[in-house]
C-alpha cells in the first residue's frame, strides 16, 4: 500500500466515524434544535464523501440545497411548532430497545448482502474519473430533458402546495372575499 492509499483510507475512516456519530446524535439528541444542527454536520460530512468520490458538483449541491436550504427550513419548522419559549425543544423517544433491535438486524442483513456480493462489485478505483459540471449539464439538457422539465413542474407544485397548505386560516378560499365578509358582518372591527 503506497502513501496516497493510506491517506485516503485514513480520510475515509475519519469522515465515516464523523458521519455515523453525527447521525446517531440526530436520532438520540434530547433537544430537537440540536438534532437539526447535528443533521447539518451529517450533511456536510456527506458532502466531503462526495468530494472523495470525485463528484464535486454533487458536493456543492449538497452544501447549498441541504445544509443551506433544508436545515434553515427545518429550524423554521421547529420554531413555528414549538409552544415553549427558548431553544430547548423536548424531543422524547419511545420504545428505543425494539427499534434498536430492528435497526441492527436490518443492518446485519444489508452487511451480509454487501459482503456476500463483494466479488461481483466493480473494482475500478473510485476517484478515477471526475464528473465535471459540463458533463452533468449536457446530460440534463439532452438525454434527460423530459425528466428535467417534469422535475421543474414538481418543484413548482411543491412550492405552491407548501404555500397553500401553510397559509393562515382561509384554507381553500380566496383571502379577499373573506376579509370583505368579515368587515360587512362586523362594521366595528376596523375601529
Amino acid at each position: 500500500m503506497n502513501e496516497a492509499d493510506w491517506v485516503a483510507q485514513l480520510g475515509f475512516a475519519l469522515v465515516g466515524v464523523g458521519l455515523v456519530f453525527s447521525a446517531t446524535r440526530v436520532v438520540t439528541s434530547d433537544n430537537l434544535v440540536r438534532s437539526v444542527l447535528w443533521l447539518a454536520v451529517t450533511l456536510c460530512a456527506t458532502a466531503v464523501l462526495f468530494l472523495m468520490l470525485s463528484a464535486p458538483f454533487m458536493a456543492s449541491i449538497q452544501l447549498m440545497l441541504y445544509t443551506g436550504g433544508v436545515i434553515t427550513l427545518m429550524l423554521f419548522g421547529v420554531m413555528l411548532t414549538n409552544r415553549e419559549a427558548g431553544v430547548v425543544v423536548a424531543n422524547e423517544r419511545n420504545s428505543p430497545k425494539r427499534a434498536a433491535a430492528l435497526a441492527i438486524s436490518v443492518f446485519a442483513v444489508f452487511a451480509a448482502a454487501i459482503i456476500g456480493s463483494r466479488d461481483a462489485l466493480p473494482t475500478r478505483p473510485l476517484d478515477a474519473t471526475a464528473v465535471t459540471t459540463a458533463v452533468l449539464g449536457q446530460s440534463f439538457l439532452t438525454d434527460h430533458l423530459l425528466a428535467f422539465e417534469v422535475l421543474s413542474v414538481l418543484l413548482l407544485a411543491a412550492m405552491i402546495g407548501a404555500v397553500v397548505l401553510a397559509r393562515r386560516r382561509d384554507f381553500g378560499e380566496p383571502s379577499g372575499r373573506r376579509v370583505k365578509k368579515k368587515t360587512a358582518a362586523d362594521p366595528g372591527a376596523e375601529a
Partner: protein, 99 residues
C-alpha cells in the same frame, strides 16, 4: 477506499435513520430521520456512479436530491398545518383513524 466501505457506511446511515423513524415522537424528528435515509441512498448512488465510471448515477442522485428537498418543504407545511389544528406535533397524539 473500496466500494464495499461506502456501501457499508450508507447501510449504517440508513439503519440509524430507521431507528430514528421508529423512536421519534415529534413529526419534525421523523422528517429528520427520513432525511438521513435519503442521504444514505444518495451516497450509494454516487458511490456506484464512481465505481462504474459513469455519470448517470450522479444524474439520478441530483434528481433524488431535488425531490427530497421538495418533499421536506411540503412535509414541513403539513406539520405546521397539524400543529395549527391540534396545537401539537407529537405523532402518537394523532390517533383518530386508529381501528
Amino acid at each position: 477506499m473500496s466500494l464495499v466501505g461506502y456501501l457499508l457506511l450508507a447501510a449504517a446511515l440508513f439503519c440509524i435513520g430507521i431507528y430514528g423513524l421508529l423512536t421519534r415522537r415529534n413529526a419534525i424528528g421523523i422528517l429528520l430521520s427520513v432525511e438521513l435515509m435519503a442521504n444514505a441512498v444518495n451516497i450509494n448512488l454516487v458511490a456506484f456512479a464512481a465505481a462504474h465510471g459513469d455519470h448517470l448515477g450522479q444524474v439520478f442522485a441530483l434528481f433524488s436530491t431535488a425531490i427530497t428537498v421538495a418533499e421536506v418543504a411540503v412535509g414541513l407545511a403539513l406539520v405546521i398545518l397539524v400543529f395549527r389544528s391540534r396545537r401539537s406535533v407529537l405523532v402518537d397524539e394523532l390517533g383518530e383513524l386508529k381501528g
